[in-house]
Symmetry: C2
Subunit: 98 residues, 2 copies
Amino acid sequence: MTHEQAEQVAPLLKALADPVRLRLMSLVASHEGGEACVCDLSEAFDLTQPTISHHLKVLHDSGLLDREKRGVWVYYRARTDALANLAALISAPEGALA
Amino acid sequence: MTHEQAEQVAPLLKALADPVRLRLMSLVASHEGGEACVCDLSEAFDLTQPTISHHLKVLHDSGLLDREKRGVWVYYRARTDALANLAALISAPEGALA
DNA sequence: ACGAGATATTGATGACTGTCAACATAGACG
DNA sequence: CGTCTATGTTGACAGTCATCAATATCTCGT
C-alpha cells in the first residue's frame, strides 16, 4: 500500500470509526428501500438533532452515504460500492493488509 | 447492528483509521514470513521511533497486531482473522452495513 | 404571505490524538 | 559488571473531534 493510498483510505475508515456513525450506516442500510430520512434515524439515538445531522454530513462528505432531498425530508442511502471497496482493501488476499 | 456491537467495532476501525497505521499493517502483512520487527518498519517512515512504537501499541492493543519478542527484537504479525471479521462486517450481504 | 416542522449551520467547550524530546527498560556481548 | 543497541514509556503541546445550544434555511400547508 502506497503512501497516497493510505492517505486516501484513512479518512474513509475514520468516518466509519464512530459508534454513532456505524449505527447510522447500519440503520440506513437495513431500512426499508435501503434508505432512511433523518427523522427515522434521530429516534434511535439519545442525541440532539444537530449532532445526528453532523454525523450524517461526515458520512456523506466521505462518500459513504448518498443524500437526496425530497420535499421537506432528506433521505440517505448507503454507498455499497464504497463499502465493498473498503472491505476488499482490508481483507482480500491481494488486499494489501492481509 | 446493536449498540454494543457498534461500541465494540468502532475502536478497531479507529485503530486502522490513520495513514501511518494503515501502512504499518500493510508493511507487516507483506513482509517476508508475514512478520516484521520495528527496525524494518521504522525505516519506511519519516517519524521518530517512539511515534512508530506508539502506533504499533495502538494496533496491538486493539487486537490487530500480534506481538512477539525474540531476543532484542520485537516482531509484529497481522491478525488476519480480526481483519477478515472487520471486512465481513463492513460489506458482507448479511454484514449489517451493506 | 405566514406559520410550522424538518434539516443544516455556527460557535463554543471538553475530550481525545499524533507527534516529539527526554528518559527508561531490557537483552546481548565483551 | 558495563556498554551498546532495540524497543517502550512519560510528559507536553498543538490540532482534531463529538456534542450541545442557538440560529438559520427551506418547504409545505393554510
